[in-house]
Amino acid sequence: MNALIYILLAVGALFNGLGALALLRFPDVYTRIHGATKCTTFGSIFSIVGVVVYGFSQGGGEGGTLAVHALLALFFLLLTNPTGSHALARGAYRGGIKPAQAVVDRLEKGKR
């Protein structure tokens, strides 16, 4: 059980790190949102599932409470993270930031 928790925590930390690295490496806002949102959401799933496994393996009142609350936090994170990044992308586009190095931009021509 301990090995499983260690693996989950390591994978979670790896993907979170890639998300933070993507923020530095990518050239413009939209690609940064790609890297940051996908990698941190995926990494957080692994990290929090590690906590949930730990909680259930502890058992009893306190471990169960920890696991259920961590699951609720994961649920809200999964629900709100893509929505927030979508809002940021839309706000950035309407605020006049063009995608860098874009090969095609359909939104510019097809204005509502």
Partner: protein, 88 residues
């Protein structure tokens, strides 16, 4: 419950990644870049709080993480609205 080392180590690693994101928050050329960096930091803070809740044996930290996730979502929406150019 007691102190659990692996969770504390994972939380420390995530805190280091948070510092990397804060770098983009500082140098980001546009306001949108800074907002994206802030969003990333928020996600990392939620995960770190859950990990610390397990590491220190304090379930209350996980509750704080839930409230933080929802509040940071609302603040992200407000910032996005501001980037768009205010209220119509």
């Amino acid at each position: 419950m007691s102190f659990e080392l692996p969770f504390a180590v994972a939380a420390a690693v995530l805190a280091a990644f948070m510092l990397v994101s804060v770098l983009r928050l500082g140098i980001g050329p546009t306001a949108a870049d800074r907002a994206v960096a802030l969003d990333t930091v928020n996600t990392l803070v939620v995960t770190t709080m859950v990990l610390l809740g397990a590491g220190l044996g304090q379930v209350i930290l996980v509750d704080v993480a839930i409230v933080y996730a929802l509040l940071s979502f609302v603040s992200t929406l407000y910032i996005a609205r501001y980037l768009e150019g205010g209220w119509e």
